[in-house]
Amino acid sequence: MEDDEYQEGGEIKKFLYVNRRLPHGTAYAIESLETVLIGAAFDQDVSMLFIDDGVYQLKKEQAPDCIDFKNFSKTYRALEMYDVEKLYVERESLEERGLTTDDLLVVVELIPGSEVKALVDQQDVILSF
């Protein structure tokens, strides 16, 4: 019975969270992450895309405690436990900033800018931060 009720309200949608900003100057990055976890808690099909300055959110060795901010960067490594496994990074955004995947906290799928549209086209909902 309870299972039936769950099924009725349990439509799974594909959510893409687009992250475009540096992590500590504004609250966008941490709020995106919190929203991602909510999506995952509701068993939604969650992907994250990092473009432009958003790629800095995944930079290793962040120490925001030096400026009295919480270090939420470790949370990206825990996403796998919440079944958030599809992390995409745009190659051009990374290259423009002199970074490589070795600089990142987590294993990501690197995609060229020309494939961003195809990724967006697969989604039901886009949330941009």
């Binding site: 475009r20 432009d52 549209k117 886009i126 941009s128």
Partner: protein, 102 residues
Amino acid sequence: MSTLNIINKSPFEKRTLDQCLKRIGEGDSVLLIEDAAICAVAGTAYAEQLIAASKQSKLYVLQPDLQARGFAEAALLDSMEQVDYEGFVNLVVTHDRVHSWL
């Protein structure tokens, strides 16, 4: 598959228009609202980029936002279509998804 991309900041202040335009394509649309409405006008530094985008994507501007900023009578880019609030709603329901580039 079509995405309605909404831009609400002036490209002279924020780069969201540029960030959006380089990642969209065939079938997608761009709607300029709030401060972004000003780049619907012909003759700005962004005209060329928008005209290029209009080859693949449809461009719209929210008329009340244009009017509010003194551009009700201004010449717009040829490929720019004006919509009112009802038109805004129609765009939302006729696309598969909305991407607000806040």
